[in-house]
Symmetry: C2
Subunit: 383 residues, 2 copies
């Protein structure tokens, strides 16, 4: 039997998505993906909630906080937990300042080398917030989970899903989840407010030092499994490959899922193509590394990488092994007399002395993830 | 009053140094510093003891195993331990396969950019052994040490010393030392044999994933302090700086001491300047990363970095988070027809997706440490 074609409102699974701040730079409306504009990104150490970059894979679900339940699957022979928000509030409240970065941040620079599949993020798929919630280790312990001899994984399932019912999912190693020093959270507050709908209301995972894709939003279910999540986003995406690998030759099982991210930095001011005045230039940007590794230095060049100056690091001091948040940085430097243009470059170093690669092409990969080459900005100088 | 000039034998503090394997490539006789030749380096996953690279800062002390005592300073109000070798054997015996790399490995490539202070290591200041001993965490616990709220450091003092009595010393964070998963050892065996004199007989520290400089040899004393070791080698050496920093401007306190090392790889076959036959080329080398990060891929280029092929990883499979040992790798590839020369390049990736930088100059530093740029080898092809 035939039906009248559905109206846009009822057929569009994205019709219930929340309103967004107009300053966000939108890369995709359905699902909604938008980055923080560079000039706002380094305006403040903590990104205001409405300006926090948004990376959705599916429509934003409507969840009722009164009936919301988080399902924690127990170990074999144990009962599972079904936690209301109030139940979650009973666990010790833990706050941690964490920078979240999309694996695809700065993908647009990779696209310039050779086309890749993915959203055209520039430098703004990264933001920082103070997250508050229960520690995942406390909740897992309550459910009866202990560290096992064999490698195991904590699998997260979101309450967002596509029309076929496939939900977003991802996993992290159990050893990581159970380490209290890793500070993995089931977060219900972001900068002192309940999570905004775009950021996982009412509960999301926050995995400090790890790629955003594992910070599962609208969290519905947590289980401990012998294998990583079988989701597309764990097994077929968010992995890095050699530049020689293309869509005809890729073996997704040959690369590990991205967890900790490598050292990253970018220039937010001035912007590429800008014209600046002679005299003095102020260069600003951010730097961050995964795995709790602290940023120890940012080098800035005004001559395309021939000579370097050390930038000043701003923002909060970082704790050893738990440097989960970025450092903002800046450099005031004289513009060399008579210079008509500047090729500004930045590169950062973390406390394992990891550095960024010089160029994009040798780290190019078919999904355009892990784009961490030196960031380069070309500006003209008014005479 | 005058004395007859001393004979060489009695005045030379190095006269008692052990005999060494003639295959070692000597960089310095006094103190003795020598690297494993590249063609032997990747001959076997485990480096034979006589071929293990040697990095001595001072003369090799003569220590009597029967009277040897290791002094473990207790926490305030507790007694110290004075451990004989037999005492140390009573702790659970722990074995771990660990690659040790000198911070100055591949320094010779940095020297080509601009002169640096330090030994001219090529690619052989790295080796791998199975180390056996007591876990440092067990010994520290026995002495009454617990993890403290404030950051603290475990300081090691060697029994080697210069004519003024200054001994070699270094430190690692207490949190690292007390973590059983970090597998820090007080090692008394190397590949199933008592430690050779050049490698710290009778006891040395082995800190998996950390720069060789912290693996203190001929260990005499262990203490827990609120600050890092005040030794020259902790505070004034083994640190990385911007290429813009020279000996006139260096502020040693501005950089952290090197602990975990960044991703590294090098080609051991063919060697630079060699002539190879047309047809097929076999490229061999090693790859290793600090901090227990596993090597997940090695890319090899035959055209200076324009195109890449993925090498085959050999050697033992690595444990998650505890990948303390290197991967040997090789690539068999056809030599492109008509090619008169090859610019062979390798670069490795670790499981945090850290990569090596393309070139040396932007990571140049005044001490020539952390030389991890792509390794490049130029060969001629016989027609
Ligand atoms: Mo992402
Ligand atoms: Mo060293």
């Amino acid at each position: 039997k035939e039906k009248a074609p559905p109206t846009l409102d009822t057929s569009d699974p994205y019709a219930g998505d929340p309103l967004r701040h107009p300053a966000l730079k939108v890369n995709s409306q359905r699902p909604f993906n938008a980055e923080t504009p560079p000039e706002l990104l380094t305006e403040s150490y903590i990104t205001p909630n409405p300006l926090f970059f948004t990376r959705n894979h599916l429509p934003v679900p409507h969840l009722d906080p009164d009936t919301y339940r988080l399902h924690i699957v127990g170990p074999p022979g144990c009962e599972s937990l079904s936690l209301s928000l109030d139940d979650l509030y009973q666990f010790p409240k833990h706050e941690v300042t964490v920078t979240v970065q999309c694996a695809g941040n700065r993908r647009a620079e990779m696209t310039k080398v050779k086309k890749v599949k993915g959203l055209e993020w520039t430098t703004g798929a990264i933001s920082t917030a103070r997250w508050t919630g229960a520690r995942l280790c406390d909740v897992l312990a309550q459910a009866g989970h202990r560290l096992s001899e064999s490698e195991a994984h904590v699998c997260f399932v979101g309450l967002d899903s596509d029309p076929t019912g496939t939900a977003y999912g991802a996993s992290i190693p159990l050893a990581h989840a159970l380490d209290p020093e890793a500070e993995v959270l089931l977060a219900y507050e972001m900068n002192g407010q309940p999570l905004p709908r775009d950021h996982g209301f009412p509960v999301r995972v926050v995995v400090p030092g790890v790629v955003g894709a594992r910070h599962v939003k609208w969290l519905g279910k947590v289980s401990v499994e012998p294998e990583e999540s079988y989701s597309h986003w764990q097994r077929r995406d968010y992995k890095g490959f050699s530049p020689s690998v293309d869509w005809d030759t890729v073996d997704f099982d040959s690369a590990p899922s991205i967890q900790e991210l490598p050292i990253q930095s970018a220039i937010t001011e001035p912007q590429d193509g800008e014209t600046i005045e002679a005299g003095e230039v102020t260069v600003k940007g951010y730097a961050w590394s995964g795995g709790g590794r602290a940023v120890i230095r940012v080098d800035v060049s005004l001559d395309g990488g021939l000579t370097w100056q050390v930038a000043e690091l701003d923002g909060e001091k970082q704790r050893p092994r738990k440097a989960w948040a970025w450092r903002l940085w800046q450099l005031q430097a004289p513009v060399p007399a008579g210079q008509k243009e500047l090729n500004i470059v930045c590169k950062a170093v973390d406390d394992s002395y990891n550095v960024q690669p010089d160029t994009v092409a040798p780290i190019w990969n078919l999904r355009g993830v892990l784009s961490t080459a030196w960031h380069r900005v070309h500006v003209r100088v008014t005479p």
